[in-house]
Subunit: 365 residues, 2 copies
């Protein structure tokens, strides 16, 4: 039985892309790699919709978020951390670890950030150097209106907009240049249809200006090294070569399909997931107007042991979903639908869930 991996990353990688992972090694400082580096970087820029820089780092999404912070800020800088869940909180923790003064603008878990509140916060506080914002909050299944938030920031201040786009880019529109996003950090194991291990980080001209005076210590994540080496067609440090081959094919497929159809597909599958859950009598956890298009959070019904359901789905149905994190532990299930997801995979997930839930209640009663 093929496992139906429905967590919010890693996602099931299509077979043809997976096969690229077994490509023999090449010299990462040779001509073949150089060509590939230029080609995939060009493809990444198309997906990010930027004419600025996009760098590939061998790390996870968290590493990419760290890169966005340490490349643009100095210890003591005030940052506004707009948080609607665990990953928003993490963004603030990263900045705090490097000595930023973190001001939190928190919204209840399950709701989206209100751009108007972001604007107000910045108008009251001229010292904010950067706004940290999660585009898609994987822990609560909420999509923030990134365009509106970025507009609010730019209308009210000169603060940089640093974006955790880990579970959004390549699944949901992210118009880096048009929306004025200064750094966007994302990772391979999401809509990119790849295994985890690579992260992609964009920098705007404003981000580079900030970089020139940013004093947070950095070495492995220092964007200057990536820029300097990119000019000679190389990565600064030995990269996850296998993932480059996979990325090369994944980008070809994404761009051949076209971004608008890719985004439409994610939107449709998300809607289908929510509709199916509601048909089963379940409640989507977040405010539905803000429901994520890449991961659906659903409320665990009264009397149901969430961990048991997750385990039964895995062991008996080969369907792997995620539970809640931190304060949502035991309170929600999360179903991921990033990348090339079929309606059948969603149907199978819902059918398995429908078959498992009543037993889980009975087992507890």
């Amino acid at each position: 039985m093929r496992v139906n991996l429905r967590i919010p990353g890693p996602i099931p990688v299509p077979d043809d892309i997976l096969a690229e992972m077994a490509h023999p090694m090449i010299n990462h400082r040779g001509p073949e790699f150089k060509e590939m580096l230029f080609r995939v970087t060009d493809g990444l820029k198309q997906v990010f919709e930027t004419k600025g820089d996009v760098f590939i780092m061998t790390t996870s999404g968290t590493g990419a978020m760290e890169a966005s912070v340490v490349n643009t800020l100095s210890p003591g800088d005030r940052v506004l951390c707009v948080t609607v869940g665990a990953f928003g909180d993490r963004y603030g923790e990263i900045a705090a670890a490097y000595g930023a003064e973190v001001v939190r603008l928190e919204f209840p878990w399950g709701t989206a950030a209100d751009p108007e509140k972001v604007r107000e916060a910045l108008r009251k506080d001229a010292k904010v150097k950067a706004v940290l914002v999660t585009h898609n909050e994987t822990s609560t299944g909420v999509g923030n209106d990134l365009e509106a938030i970025a507009k609010a920031v730019h209308g009210a201040s000169d603060a940089l907009v640093l974006v955790d786009g880990v579970s959004s880019v390549a699944s949901i529109p992210v118009r880096t240049d048009a929306w004025g996003l200064d750094v966007v950090a994302t990772a391979s194991q999401k809509g990119w249809m790849l295994p985890p291990g690579l992260a992609f980080v964009s920098l705007s001209q404003r981000a580079w200006k900030a970089h020139a005076v940013a004093k947070m210590p950095r070495y492995y994540f220092d964007a200057s090294a990536y820029k300097k080496y990119f000019e000679i067609g190389q990565p600064p440090y030995t990269p996850g070569v296998s993932l480059y081959f996979a990325l090369d094919l994944a980008l070809k497929q994404l761009l051949a399909e076209g971004l608008p159809p890719v985004y439409a597909r994610h939107k449709r599958i998300a809607q289908m997931t929510r509709d199916g859950l509601k048909d089963m009598g379940l409640s989507v956890f977040p405010d539905e107007r803000a429901a994520s298009e890449t991961v659906t959070a659903v409320t665990v019904p009264e009397g149901v042991d969430a961990a048991k359901v997750v385990e039964a789905l895995r062991a008996q149905h080969g369907v792997v979903i995620a539970g809640g994190q931190e304060k949502l532990k035991g309170k929600i299930f999360r179903i991921g639908h990033m990348g090339r997801v079929s309606s059948d995979e969603i149907r199978q997930t819902l059918t398995a869930l429908a078959a498992t839930l009543p037993k889980a209640v009975a087992a507890r009663a």
Copy 2:
């Protein structure tokens, strides 16, 4: 024609290990991953010869070196950077980037570090908190006597011994506990027979004590997070899952062969490489008593354009070797022999080099 990849990493990955890279994704927070994480960590500890901790990070060797520094030191701490080449210099640069006061103890490129000089330096300076040392210097083809250096450090001071073991562990004996190595950092694309993308970092009890008061900022590389999550059988951040499958098989093979035969094999192949080069009338670049067992540096003969030779070997013979870095650019070739290297692969490399060199001289004359 199968390429004979003879750079000092990435190395040619055996086919069966490469095939593991195409394993379908699994939940990195599920039971299958947990089992694998415990199994591979146990295998890593056997290779490191430690009962302490070894953590797996999704990064390159440079990231692992950064982890060794930021987890044990504070800004302002004095460190002794024992350097015999480009990677020794890099270690010092990393520490300096995070605010350490770096005292350099430099030895001429092509020679090994003198343990006696390390002892003297520490006796004269009681303030040194850590000694940074490269076990195998890939840029010059030199192997340092790590055991003697660690002994010198421990005999003269309480300084921590932080080791760049990137191109040594799994190819050359590294007795982490017996030699008192506090942090050893290494990476997958070397003797481990894996593609790049994972790094392995050990921490001794002394390293953990230092960690408890170490104030260098860190988040992605913070060993505490890896320790905390390891206790529940998980990585803190989404890891390079594909490489775990490959690592699982590679460790099985390494441990089945046995470490002494693996080390003996590397020693024999290194000797064969040096002997073959000398038979051709070429000179091994470093002091031969300190010649590396994982990469051989050979002096470019007078009148030969090194870059042209490297390119001709690649294009006409399918043999990929490396040139020199920084001040050795154009002055040496480097031939890697880590992992499962056959005598035939070395013979083919030498034959191709012998066929190419006279033409390279002629072309220039």
